[in-house]
Symmetry: C2
Subunit: 423 residues, 2 copies
């Protein structure tokens, strides 16, 4: 089955928004084993949309359209798609009731044109929209002897992504009579090329499941994807391959596994929270160059209050002294960016916050502030746990970009805690 | 002049990367007054690329291609484009020397295939690549009586974006004999529909400069864009329009102006830092639900250490008591999410950190923790300045998403400080 993604919206052509929907859907399609050769973007213009839909179906069996499903006059995707399939738009009572309920619940006033969203092409399958108002639609029909399928999704990623996951994925699995399952192995402390070298033969030989490494900013991920008739069968194939990988040299760098994109994105902080929670331990921070990025990342996760007591952002030296109790002599003799200072910060945070384990960071994030001895990218870490304090000094110098150094520092600090707790 | 953006790369079709280049270029084109009706993505496949280039030129005068300029076998953009224009690829000595210098400077080993990047279509203009290796190319030629222009750019955004800014923008200004300038007015505390209603007539009537409002998560931006022969002329048109807008009812919501994307993105924190710096004042935070997001946002900005002394992340009540000195009775009688607690937190942070002005936040970010009286989205703010403490209670209930509530809280806290300082 060949698929094409067609994104509808003048705001995309103007560059006012980035087309994350297309990347998201493309990724999911490749996970489902559906091939895609083309993506297009077209504005809210009937003539050009008509032309583009025709072109897309001349090349592909399945066209996934995003955007232009809303209640305003320039939302024309549904109308033009129904025209292509030669079916009328009919008022769908269940969608109409769903819309009325939505407006009632949110207390937002409903204008008449909102009901246009309840017009559904005849014979289409409806995906109710739990995340907004415009429902998604799937329309499948034989045209000139070939089965053509259009899937229409709302444009806002906050609606498009969950609707794809919850509604379109099962729909497409049924359509292709195939299901899939993916597992990510997260590796810290190894580069992509090294991981690739270790796994090269396995990657070449594995067709189901497939094995592919991805370099992320702070880590390497190995994605295992299996296809089959049932999810159980796919999961089993993935698990076997994961076990095989864990026995290679790459195995010792694996710190966690995930199988959904949100978990994958937050893998480090989730692993940190899980390690703390399973030990009934509380956590705190002392941050200089990251200025709260570590504690904020922990706070991103619902339920963080189980483990996070708090943090001290000690940007100025006076705060390091006054709030964290870093001795003046440490600052004078070693400087704020030193393992000695990091050790005192971690100890001070553990005491001030009353937590079981505290991590500290102090570094030169740049672009200014670097020196011969401590160039931009120099970061010192401290970890206080029981009576023990350990420190580390890392040079992040691959790219001297302030945000990147701070993000890498955040991940590294969390990994220090994870490693310590896991032994 | 009609333009089309054509992105080349199988990794885009697989969803491995998001097509930020297309959005970036689209935005710059609309600033240059160049119309674009289409964007396409195609993989590293000669046949499909050939087809897509032909289609694009059948509709447009200018096609901007990104990706596929590198040294490997699947980098075919240059070859297929040269074929379309009917010109050969020739070794360009100056590009060859530039490549040799690059590899010499970075100490990376140069393989023979890297020199393929010095092959340039006959008659093309070369954009030397200061940010990587593959040069950009512009090729302009009359085909069937119409001038057709192809601009080829490297795919990595770290090369594509600066090359567009430095090389392609002047090239296109010369091609279209036109330049432009944009100014963003940032408004806080007014909704998009209200801003649109106030400015409706002006938006309709203004053609040069154009006036367009954009709703961002926490604010409304009004973008003024002028076209003309010189930047000075354009800037003057923008300034006059900005003055006109500032006299409308929308004017009192304007808190800052920006004219580049990075400044626009960081408008609130930049306005905060500027307000503090111009008064020689220092700043600190006491954060509960945001867990360091406010201090971290300030720390994002180079030179933040001029104004940021530090912050206390007081997630747990014990930290509010112990580090910030919030009286136990306040927590018992009013709860952690209360204006009383926010006031005590701000006072405590100002004292502990020794800063001139401190802001505090404590709220229910969700998804759990809400109650009838204090539902998810309830946030209390405190501000301590001199002997004065002011508080505010805000209900962010438009969308009960944890991250969104925390981001809105961060912006609102900073805006409180900005308003206080500006009087």
């Amino acid at each position: 089955m060949i698929c094409e993604i067609l994104s509808v919206g003048t705001e995309l052509l103007l560059g006012d928004i980035i087309n994350t929907d297309a990347a998201f859907i493309a990724k999911r399609l490749s996970e489902l084993g559906i091939t895609s050769y083309r993506q297009s973007v077209v504005g809210d213009n009937a003539e050009r949309l008509r032309e583009t839909i025709g072109e897309a179906f001349s090349r592909s069996d399945l066209v996934i359209l995003t955007g232009g499903l809303g209640p305003t006059l320039d939302d024309i995707t549904k109308k033009i798609t129904a025209e292509y399939f030669g079916v009328p738009l009919l008022m769908d009572e269940s969608v109409r009731e769903d819309l009325l309920r939505f407006f009632d619940k949110t207390g937002r006033p409903m204008t008449e044109n909102n009901l246009l969203q309840a017009l559904i092409p005849e014979g289409a399958e409806v995906f109710f929209n739990k995340w907004g108002t415009a429902p998604g639609i799937a329309l499948s029909k034989e045209i000139n002897g070939t089965l053509k399928t259009a899937v229409l999704l709302p444009g806002p990623p906050s609606e498009c992504e969950p609707m794809f996951r919850e509604c379109v994925t099962p729909y497409l699995k049924k359509l292709t009579n195939q299901t899939s399952y993916s597992l990510n192995l997260h590796l810290y402390g190894i580069g992509e090329s090294r991981a690739e070298a270790i796994l090269h033969d396995m990657m070449e030989q594995s067709t189901n499941p497939t094995v592919a490494p991805y370099a992320c900013e702070h880590e390497v991920r190995i994605r295992i994807t299996a296809f089959g008739k049932t999810e159980d069968e796919c999961r089993k194939l993935c698990r076997e391959k994961a076990k095989e990988i864990s026995k290679t040299e790459a195995g010792k760098y694996i710190y966690t596994e995930t199988n959904d994109p949100w978990e994958a994105k937050n893998s480090v902080v989730l692993a940190l929270i899980a390690a703390l929670r399973s030990r009934g331990m509380t956590f705190g921070t002392a941050e200089s160059c990251t200025a709260g990025m570590i504690s904020s990342a922990v706070g991103d996760i619902p339920g963080a209050s189980d483990v996070l007591l708090g943090g001290i952002v000690s940007y100025a030296n006076e705060v390091k002294e006054k709030v964290l109790g870093v001795p003046r002599v440490v600052l004078d003799d070693f400087g704020a960016v030193s393992e000695e200072c990091a050790a005192a910060m971690a100890k001070g945070a553990k005491k001030a916050l009353g937590c079981d384990i505290a991590v500290s960071v102090t570094g030169v994030a740049g672009p200014g502030g670097g020196s011969e001895e401590k160039p931009v990218g120099t970061v010192c870490f401290g970890l206080a746990f029981g009576d023990e304090v350990i420190t580390e000094k890392v040079m992040f110098n691959r790219k001297s970009d302030r945000m990147r150094i701070r993000r890498l520092t955040t991940a590294h600090a969390m990994m220090m805690v994870i490693k310590k707790l896991k032994g």
